[in-house]
Amino acid sequence: MTIASQTPRQALHGATTAAPPTAPRPPARRRTSLTRNRWGYAYVAPFFLLFAAFSLYPFLYTAWISLHKTSLSNIGGGTWVGLDNYRALLQSEFFWNAARNTLTIGILATVPQLCMALGLAHLLNYKIRNRTFFRTVMLMPYATSIAAATLVFAQLFGRDYGLINTLLEAVGLERIDWEAGTLSSQVAIAAIVTWRWTGYNALIYLAAMQSIPGELYEAAEIDGANRWKQFLHVTIPSLRPTILFTVVVSTIGAVQLFGEPLLFAGNGTTSGGSSGQYQTLGLLMYQQGWSNFHIGQAATTAWAMFMIILVIVGINAVISRLRTRAER
């Protein structure tokens, strides 16, 4: 996931409210050579050129490739097969297995992560000593790379010598072969994701909490609402746009999950466990393209992932629109 920190919707909102930079000024003064300036194109050109070359063009070309049968060794060529790749994908049990795994790992990772982040942000919003220390330490996992985090967690979740199993045994429970089971391996992978992102999301929530006007809480207090009720009826509703934003971003991240399942077994295999029990869509795509050399199939999987993301973003947009309409 990147450092993108705003939904397009909120961003556009910002664009419309803040766009005319010198709105209240008399028009005569605005028409200087600086504010009406063709140089603007030159200044934004590097962004658009680099983006077009390295993101937009490849993005569209992926769709083109997905309509061909082609391999890594035959990069330029390939035969036109129309929608065959998509048909094959929908009939492939590997695709459905990967889609199911992506969904369950996504839920296992996203739901607890965002709930915990919300709670943490609430705690961090109190007057606390050493608040810089707590905030910084909670962001440490975010600074740790996927590779490093996964290798450490794979060690912690190890069957024979892993610390977690040692602990389980110490309290009288059975050892778990984390990597072998479907649920256990998915829980372990979700734990890595949760560990890395909870603190980050908590800070996003905290930032939003700090811009809630204090009057709202005072009014709630006068009405006799206790802390918990204030949290439920003031904090959560005020944070709704931010929560929606983190849900969308985390889900997009979950759909693309790749590094954690790749490195979880420690040996970088693309099969996602002995029976594919934690093979995600991202991993499947990598396997199709770079292990099996079916570039056309990999492109099809990539586009399937994009469709899933579009559906999720669409659902979220609809929900938020319905909500705002209901409030009016």
């Binding site: 803040a18 109190y126 809630i212």
Partner: protein, 300 residues
């Protein structure tokens, strides 16, 4: 909207008689924290830090030591033996150098181009500006994995496979960065300053260099830190574009676990080596990075 943009509703409705102490979060409405809060926060801090600490512990013992019950809980002197073994198994030294070069180049490029574009979007009026800005924001939605296959073909055509520029060029700009700089410059760069520069006869680029950049410096620093962290931790694309002959840290770490007889303590030592640089940076600049993320969240 609770995510207030600079100069919009929430900041202006504060009654005059109440001290405005919410800035920075010190005097928020929330009361003092009780022991429960401290306990929960301390627990979270421990959970956040423990895996990193365990890397140090496990990386500084032998395999047999780690497997013992109870396991060791303090670092040991074998650390340097394991470091040596890790450096023999994977080119971690070279990888760190590569990562510094790659992340450094990406950071310099991103900060420069994004400040340039952010300035144009904030202060220069040109036809189609609104549409172009909407496009920038729309680009945030395109996931990397959608572009990877043609990107790989492209760098193969350019004979860039396994070369650092293959990792640098595709990440040289960021839509988030453009938007971030725009929001900052709208609120903190007075038009009078720009007009004064113009009256003095400065060219637009001269104005950018001598007036905009100094004003933008704090935001540039924040963007630089976030970009560096993200670039350092980038995994998917470097794994495809590079091999273990010329890896970044992440690629080298991925290769570390792939031996036939994985030696956990050596893997942990290598992981520690690859993570140390960013942890050091984080220890020094953590407060600013935290501030940057919170600022990014509010301002966009």
């Amino acid at each position: 909207m609770t995510i207030a943009l600079p100069g919009t509703q929430t900041t202006s409705v504060q009654p005059v008689d109440r001290p405005v102490t919410r800035k920075g979060g010190k005097g928020t409405r929330a009361g003092k924290a009780g022991p429960v809060t401290y306990t929960l926060l301390t627990l979270t801090a421990l959970v956040s830090i423990f895996p990193l600490y365990w890397t140090l512990v496990a990386g500084s013992h032998t395999n047999a030591d780690i497997a013992a019950t109870p396991p060791p809980f303090l670092p040991n002197a074998s650390l340097f033996t394991n470091f040596k073994a890790a450096l023999e198994q994977a080119p971690i030294g070279k990888a760190i150098l590569n990562s510094v070069l790659v992340s450094g180049a990406i950071t310099v490029g991103t900060v420069f181009f994004c400040t340039l574009a952010g300035f144009a979007f904030a202060k220069l009026a040109f036809k189609g500006r609104g549409l172009l800005l909407a496009l920038v924001i729309g680009t945030m939605m395109v996931p990397t994995q959608l572009s990877v296959i043609p990107l790989f073909m492209m760098i193969a055509d350019l004979q860039w496979v396994n070369q650092l520029q293959a990792v640098i060029f595709p990440t040289l700009v960021s839509a988030f960065g453009v938007f971030f700089m725009r929001q900052y410059l709208i609120s903190s760069l007075p038009n009078e300053l720009l007009e004064a520069g113009r009256v003095d006869g400065a060219s637009t680029f001269r104005i950018f260099w001598s007036i905009v950049v100094p004003v933008a410096r704090p935001a540039m620093a924040v963007l630089a830190m976030l970009t560096f962290l993200t670039a350092w931790n980038e995994f998917f694309w470097p794994l495809i574009a590079l091999t273990n002959a010329n890896p970044t840290v992440q690629v080298a770490l991925a290769g570390l676990g792939s031996g036939y007889v994985p030696q956990q303590s050596v893997i942990m030592a290598g992981t520690l080596l690859g993570t140390l640089p960013v942890l050091i940076v984080f220890t020094i600049l953590g407060k600013q990075i935290v501030g940057g993320i919170m600022q990014g969240a509010v301002k966009g």
